[in-house]
């Protein structure tokens, strides 16, 4: 058998060598990979020492193996395995077997027998473990085959008594992944009886090695994940493991308990040392809560996280988690929260002046105090106070999840969340603000709580402030004082951080529309109107005044009595704001005013259609263009492009489509223009000067096509084809222009060849879509391909030229959802007159803050470019952590850019802008033969470049000469 194989292998090998030679002569691109197995076999035979063999294997492992030759490779490997004495080489072979059996399209059942066979003769524990791993890989590839599964489980059970923990680990893993519960399944003829896997795994919960215990629990969890129902008896076993000495065991046990509690929430378990009984889920909840004060933070994080998903817990258990039962000198004490609440309900503001304000009141019966083991008691209080911020974040998340499912709990946990706003780590603060926003439907903020919340508005971190604004957008405030307080604090915030303007206005908009009745009594005060006297008209450009107006107008929308309180200038300001800030100011029904906007607001829905229609119509008009004479075509194109661009500006929801089509038309227009050039009629030597336009057009079309391909999100394959087609045309144009301008044939040779390669590549990439491209440039080109291949460059150019002229205008199908990537740099604002001074040769850090819209995967594509006045450009790759994702499709880049330069005599401006980097490889559909990882380098497929997509911002800098 082996000899036969070897022969076959050699055959393959030689055949391939021939093909490679062939390739050199004919330049065929399609190639068949040389067979791996042959090379491997030769290498392994050459290897003189185990170290050598290991090296060969390592090299071999770096390259993938195609499915057809896997079996051959496996045979060769196995053959070496039997011969090999060195365990490390055997280990490597075993691991390779595992890897190979994972190859797609290869069915590993043929090697299973061998694997089990070598397993039985293996002595080394490490190799054994690795072999079991291989078996696991094989078994997971064949989930259908019951017999194999049973056999593997049997093997695993046999090796469970091994002395090495590694082997036992792997056995348990195998059991977890392959073992089944159903005993009824066909008792196999081979005498392999299905075993009770759970029982076997459960026995190893008390193994002497903690790693094995962990593996056992993990295997159990794996069983659960595979959909097997765990027995309830496991619960007690798992509970014992909670007091294990090793953290990984405890951590896994917590998970297991959680799983069981989700499976049997309602079954009843007895409480030890008393004859009471409680629901299992409550008991488990108490136990997991207890683990929140575990010694190891890994376990604490795990426990805190899991608490969040236990929604079936009874409410009194849940509420205990927030109650620590304070006492002082054995007397019951009220928490600061309770005191705050009491003060609030008694109508008195916090005094806090007296010492002993918090003095303990009632005596506690010493017997009744239970200091520990009260299970859930205060679990969250502990979790939120934990030393590690990981635990605190987990606790906050858990609070959020529980509060979302239980309104009463939400009400209770509010105090604690508010407290977390003062955490020392920003991430935690941010997380708790977000959490609060998520549960804000269930809660109403008391005034004292609002006070604490609002205090955070002064935070210097922009993220925190913005998160808080969003929170305020959706909170319910109970009193008019609350609204007033919020407004005052927001205005204070505005004064301190003027950049927050937009966010604050938006926040007030929602605050106003949510609480119209609470705003109503505040209106005279806010507008500082007086019953008798006219007051001075406030400054219309004051952001604070606008903020107040936004609040009032939004409240007035649902409160018809409010406009009566407005003074004259308020109405004027309304009209102004309604125009300038229409997204913030709603249409109001004002008495005695014409209802300008009411018609608009009443039928927004059909409003979309006309513009959509308009877009479609203008595009249709253009697509019927080919019959018109060129002059008229150009004019029509120009008009349509203008229309579309304007439409994009007006209708933000159609902006993507409009811009996209406009760009495409622009390309077409350029192409037509270039072909209209007189130069084509002039004899070659004469037009040297005029060629500028055509080559510039070609270049611009290329640029535009890259923009179309990479700057829009939602571009589908059918558009990509058209874009590539357009690019191909541009390339043809370029070729023609070059052919006419350059003398001599030599450079042309290369270019032609390259162009033809590209055509070939285009054909291969879009072979499926070619049917849509009938009558187009490419279509014709492909027809003539054989002829082109054979002809001389000059001839090629000539053919291209005619074809380019004859080619028709391709219809660009509009994608469903298309958005243009855009970016705005918020900071630096570029208005400063004070140059940033720094010593030359050293660096200065420039804070850059920008919002990105509709950018896919900004971490890898968005770059910052700095242009110095001397033309030097510098590209900066922001760290992935610098990107935040505040909403779908939106990203925020907050980073620092380091500038440095030699000394200047005068301060000067540098330009900062954002670039979108693209790599055409990413879009090209993958072919099986490329998947091997080696893209044939001769095809120039990967085009990398950058597109600027934000307005440049100028920053004034001044590198001073260093003082000596």
């Amino acid at each position: 058998m082996a000899a036969h194989l070897k022969k076959r292998v050699y055959e393959e090998f030689t055949k391939v060598v021939q093909q490679q030679q062939e390739e050199i002569t004919t330049k065929k691109l399609r190639l068949t990979k040389p067979s791996k197995s042959a090379a491997l076999h030769i290498d392994l035979c050459k290897a003189t020492s185990p170290a050598d063999a290991l090296q060969y294997l390592l090299q071999f492992a770096r390259k993938p193996v195609e499915a057809e030759s896997v079996e051959g490779v496996v045979r060769i490997l196995l053959e070496h395995y039997y011969k090999e004495n060195d365990p490390s080489v055997r280990l490597k072979i075993a691991s390779l077997l595992g890897l190979l059996s994972k190859t797609a399209g290869f069915s590993p059942d043929c090697i299973m027998d061998d694997a089990i066979n070598i397993l039985q003769n293996e002595k080394s524990h490490q190799v054994l473990a690795q072999l079991l791993d291989t078996l696991l890989a094989i078994g997971s590839k064949l989930p259908e085959n019951q017999a194999i599964q049973l056999r593997l489980v049997d093997v695993a059970c046999k090796h469970l008594t091994d002395t090495s923990h590694g082997v036992r680990n792997k056995c348990l893993q195998l059991l977890g992944n392959l073992g089944s519960l159903e005993k009824s399944v066909t008792k196999d003829a081979e005498g392999l009886t299905a075993r009770d896997v759970q029982k076997i795994i459960g026995d190893y919960f008390s193994d002497q090695d903690p790693r094995v215990r962990t593996a056992a629990i993990k295997a159990m969890l794996q069983l659960h994940e595979r959909g097997l129902k765990l027995h309830q008896t496991i619960y007690n076993q798992a509970c014992k493991l909670l007091s294990d000495d090793y953290e990984q065991v405890r951590s896994a046990a917590v998970q297991l308990i959680w799983v069981v509690s989700q499976l049997y929430p309602e079954s009843i378990v007895p409480i030890p040392s008393s004859n009471e009984e409680i629901r299992l889920v409550d008991d488990a909840f108490g136990k997991i809560c207890h683990m929140v004060s575990d010694g190891s933070w890994v376990v604490r994080v795990q426990a805190a996280k899991l608490l969040g998903s236990m929604e079936q817990v009874s409410s009194h258990f849940l509420e205990q988690t927030l109650d620590k039962k304070l006492m002082s000198d054995l007397r019951r004490k009220r928490t600061a929260h309770e005191r705050a609440k009491e003060l609030y309900s008694s109508g008195e503001f916090s005094s806090g002046r007296k010492w002993g304000d918090d003095a303990p009141k009632e005596e506690i019966d010493t017997g009744a105090v239970n200091l520990i083991e009260s299970g859930a008691c205060g679990a969250f209080v502990h979790g939120l106070e934990d030393e590690m911020y990981e635990v605190r974040i987990a606790a906050v998340e858990a609070l959020c999840m529980l509060a979302q499912s239980s309104p009463s709990f939400a009400e209770k946990c509010l105090d604690f969340l508010v407290d977390m706003f003062n955490d020392e780590i920003e991430e935690v603060r941010l997380q708790s603000i977000h959490t609060m926003r998520k549960i804000s439907n269930n809660i109403t903020l008391r005034e004292d709580q609002l006070d604490t919340v609002l205090a955070v508005l002064e935070d210097s971190s922009r993220d925190i402030r913005e998160a808080l604004h969003e929170l305020l957008c959706c909170t319910n405030v109970s009193t008019k004082e609350g609204i007033h307080l919020a407004l005052v604090e927001l205005l204070k915030n505005l004064a301190k951080y003027p950049t927050d303007r937009d966010s604050i206005w938006k926040c007030l908009k929602f605050l106003g529309s949510r609480h119209p009745t609470l705003v109503l009594p505040l209106v005279p005060e806010l507008l500082s109107t007086h019953p008798f006297f006219d007051t001075a008209e406030p400054d219309m450009d004051d952001p604070a005044y606008i903020a107040v107006l936004v609040l009032i107008f939004n409240a007035a929308k649902t409160c018809p009595t409010m406009p009566a309180l407005f003074s004259d200038h308020t109405f004027r300001h309304y009209a102004y704001l309604r125009d300038s800030l229409s997204h913030l100011v709603p249409a109001l029904r004002l008495p005695g005013r014409k209802l300008v906007s009411s018609t608009v607001s009443s039928n927004i829905a059909p409003h979309e259609d006309p513009s959509q229609q308009f877009l479609q119509q203008s595009l249709d008009r253009v697509y019927s263009l080919q019959h018109l004479d060129p002059q008229g075509a150009q004019e029509l194109l120009e008009l349509t492009i203008r229309d579309l661009q304007r439409l994009g500006e007006l209708q933000s929801e159609l902006a993507g489509v409009a811009d996209f089509s406009a760009t495409y038309l622009q390309c077409q227009l350029l192409l037509i223009k270039a072909l209209q050039e007189k130069l084509w009629n002039v004899a070659a030597p004469l037009y040297l000067k005029q060629s500028d336009l055509a080559s510039a057009a070609a270049k611009q079309i290329m640029e535009e096509t890259y923009k179309m391909e990479f700057m829009y999100s939602g571009v589908e394959n059918k558009q990509v084809v058209i874009i590539h087609h357009m690019r191909l045309q541009a390339k043809a144009l370029q070729l023609i222009v070059t052919a006419r301008t350059t003398r001599g044939v030599d450079p042309l040779f290369g270019m032609c060849e390259k162009f033809l390669q590209e055509v070939d590549f285009f054909q291969r990439c879009f072979i499926a879509d070619l049917s849509h491209l009938q009558d187009s440039f490419v279509d014709k080109l492909l027809d003539l391909m054989p002829r082109l291949m054979a002809s001389k460059p000059a001839e090629v150019v000539k053919i291209l030229q005619t074809m380019l002229r004859q080619s028709t205008f391709l219809h660009l199908p509009l994608p469903e959802q298309i958005h243009k990537a855009s970016a705005t740099i918020i900071e630096p604002a570029g208005e400063s007159d004070n140059p940033l001074r720094f010593t030359s040769g050293l660096v200065v850090a420039l804070d850059v803050d920008a919002t990105l819209e509709h950018v896919q995967d900004p971490q890898s594509t968005v770059k910052v470019q700095v242009l110095y006045p001397d033309g030097q450009a510098q590209m900066i790759h922001p760290k992935p952590a610098d990107f935040r994702n505040p909403g779908p499709g939106r990203h925020r880049l907050i980073t620092q850019v380091y500038l440095s330069h030699t000394a200047w005599t005068e301060p000067c401006q540098v330009e900062v802008r954002l670039l979108l980097a693209y790599n055409s490889n990413a879009r090209i559909p993958k072919f099986p033969w490329i998947e091997g990882g080696e893209v044939s380098p001769q095809v120039e497929t990967s085009i990398e470049g950058t597109i600027p997509f934000s307005k440049p911002v100028k920053v004034y800098i001044m590198p001073k000469p260093a003082r000596r």
């Binding site: 026995d203 000198d329 010493t366 200091l371 106070e385 604490t452 210097s460 971190s461």
Partner: protein, 600 residues
């Protein structure tokens, strides 16, 4: 019977003057060597004469361990080592070693220079004393001598506070010192592994208190300061130089940073600067936040907190000042207080407890008119706030630590007797371990049962392991071997090896037994029947029929012979060695039941 003896010389049912003697497996260790704040006479220091009347202390004590730098834990150290005379090693952590002499020097200055005490230790003595100190790292096991080893665990409380595990052989004691189970702004929470000591000596300052979450406290504090400052008032915070002062500084510093405040914060100078320097150095002893961010900025390099100058107190506008001492009884804090007390916009925040008789205590109890020296009457219009920032574990924290360490018994020190009593009950009830609370000078004796390690040869272990089927971690297993006790070492070896080592020859011990069977057939046939019977019954064993007519089961020989008198009865001779006793007796019992009727 081995035992552990514990005698508190101080801190037994009392707070202050911590000093505990522990004898464990013949080693004597002194834990802490503190002074009492409340006394100025001999009671100030522990009674070291208890240890020995005549001999040198060094001969009696193997080592001294200091848990942290507070004076009630280390204040008597120079007196003890230099004046009473002790030359052995003194163990403490690095931060304690660095900060302790500063505090001792300060204490000495006040006692000698201000109060004019004679017969007090000198600066030189402090230096000499510190030379005897051996610094330890966290979780580092230090061998004091061949048998005694100590190990430090993180304790929170103050910078460099540590819990110590003292271990001799398999017996161990853990002493917590003061510790804090809830982390704060600059320190982490105390942590100990499941070391299962024989005895856990824990402080119990807050034995009967469960504290509210620290966040409310912090928020209150910040809010009050912020409001006052916004109103344009001045805030005075009297503090002691080390410990809580740094906590409050960090708290205010980060708040100022976050809120972008510009109001100046001052810290009255003195020993603080030196101490702050050490805080900057010992970053590894602080909490997660400070440890993670110190690469960008060391949190103790305060940006907003500047050194205070006497003249600043009269500056107009808002400011926050930390001033020493903490009880407003003298010094700078009192001076500033007198300047600011008249303005109702100002505020004083007392972050700690005030002893009766001090100005701090008076204003806290609501007194508004104070009589100062020189018959002046000072009217206090400024707001007075009290805020407790304490770094001791509360009752729940103590229970948590006990749960973490899983000791066999607990001993409470550093607390009031009445409160201890409550906690003692709780511990006994919850953990079911014995709990003690000795008074000063009272000795607690704990019997221990130390485990004795026995060496076992690998061959024997593997052989015995192979016999068992399932590994049961916690169940005892039967093991056959020979225990050799030689030169105070214990070894478990296989019997063959033992024989070889001792030069003895093995004695064969064989049991024989006759079993009478009613069988009229010939001997060979009987033997054959016995053979087939055994073959059927004992499937796991190797049963053989030898050509001479005898049957063997493993090494047991069975021979059939005719009875000399009664030919109807056959006698089965069963013979086995001592090692096969179990199987042999089983076989005889089996054969005595008779053979099954042959299918004839």
């Amino acid at each position: 019977m081995p035992e552990i003896r514990v005698t508190p010389l101080g801190a037994g049912q009392d707070v202050g003057r911590s000093c505990i003697l522990v004898s464990i497996a013949g080693k004597n260790v002194m834990l802490d060597c503190g002074m009492h704040m409340g006394y100025n006479d001999d009671r100030r220091f522990p009674d070291f004469s208890y240890i020995t009347q005549s001999g040198r202390l060094t001969d009696f004590l193997d080592c001294v361990i200091i848990s942290h730098f507070h004076l009630d834990h280390c204040g008597a150290l120079p007196y003890f080592s230099e004046m009473v005379g002790y030359d052995g090693p003194i163990y403490m952590t690095h931060p304690t070693q660095a900060i302790c002499p500063i505090l001792l020097e300060d204490y000495r200055k006040i006692a000698v220079d201000k109060k004019g005490e004679a017969n007090f230790f000198t600066s030189q003595m402090i230096k000499d004393c510190m030379k005897k100190v051996v610094a330890v790292h966290l979780h580092q096991t230090v061998q004091v001598d061949d048998e005694l080893e100590i190990k430090a665990y993180y304790a929170g409380h103050v910078l460099g506070a540590a819990m110590f595990q003292i271990k001799v052989g398999s017996e161990s004691v853990v002493y917590t010192g003061d510790y804090n189970m809830t982390p704060d702004r600059h320190l982490g929470a105390a942590w100990i592994d499941k070391c299962r000591p024989n005895l856990l000596i824990t402080e119990s300052t807050y034995a009967t208190t469960i504290r509210d979450s620290k966040r409310c406290r912090e928020r209150d504090f910040l809010k009050k300061v912020h409001e006052t400052v916004e109103r344009g008032g001045k805030v005075l915070i009297p503090v002691f130089a080390l410990g809580r002062a740094q906590e409050l500084c960090i708290l205010l510093e980060t708040f100022w940073e976050r809120m972008n405040l510009k109001v100046p914060i001052y810290f009255s100078t003195g020993l603080t600067e030196k101490a702050n320097h050490y805080y900057k150095l010992f970053i590894t002893w602080t909490n997660q936040k400070i440890r993670k961010t110190f690469v960008q900025r060391n949190m103790f390099e305060f940006k907003h907190i500047k050194a205070f100058d006497r003249a600043f107190a009269d500056n107009p506008g808002p400011m926050v000042v930390f001033a020493t001492p903490g009880m407003l009884h003298a010094g700078q804090s009192l001076q500033i207080f007198r300047k600011w007390a008249g303005n109702e916009k100002n505020m004083v925040i007392m972050p700690g407890y005030c002893v009766q008789g001090t100005v701090g205590h008076k204003i806290l109890s609501g007194q508004r008119k104070l009589e100062m020296e020189g018959r002046q009457v000072l009217e206090v219009k400024m707001q007075v706030e009290y805020m407790s920032f304490s770094a001791h574990a509360d009752a729940k924290g103590i229970m948590q630590l006990v749960g973490q360490a899983e000791p066999e018994s607990v001993l409470l020190v550093h607390g009031e007797a009445k409160k201890m009593e409550f906690l003692r009950q709780k511990i006994e009830q919850e953990f079911r371990v014995s709990c003690y609370m000795p008074a000063n000078g009272e000795t607690v004796t704990l019997p221990t049962s130390p485990s004795i390690p026995v060496g076992i040869s690998l061959g024997l272990l593997k052989r015995e392991m192979a016999q068992g089927l399932l590994p049961e971690a916690k169940k005892p297993r039967l093991l056959h071997g020979t225990l050799i006790m030689k030169d105070s070492s214990f070894r478990l070896v296989s019997s063959e090896q033992a024989l070889k080592e001792l030069g003895l020859t093995e004695h064969q011990l064989r049991f024989t037994c006759r079993v009478h069977l009613q069988d009229t057939r010939k001997e060979q046939e009987t033997a054959l029947r016995v053979y087939s019977h055994l073959k059927n019954t004992l499937k796991d064993h190797c049963v053989q029929h030898l050509p001479d007519g005898s049957v063997t089961v493993e090494s047991i020989l069975i021979q059939a012979a005719a009875h000399s008198e009664d030919p109807g009865t056959k006698v089965l001779l069963v013979s086995w060695t001592y090692q096969d006793e179990e199987l042999g007796s089983f076989l005889t019992a089996l054969l005595k039941n008779g053979l099954p009727q042959a299918p004839s």
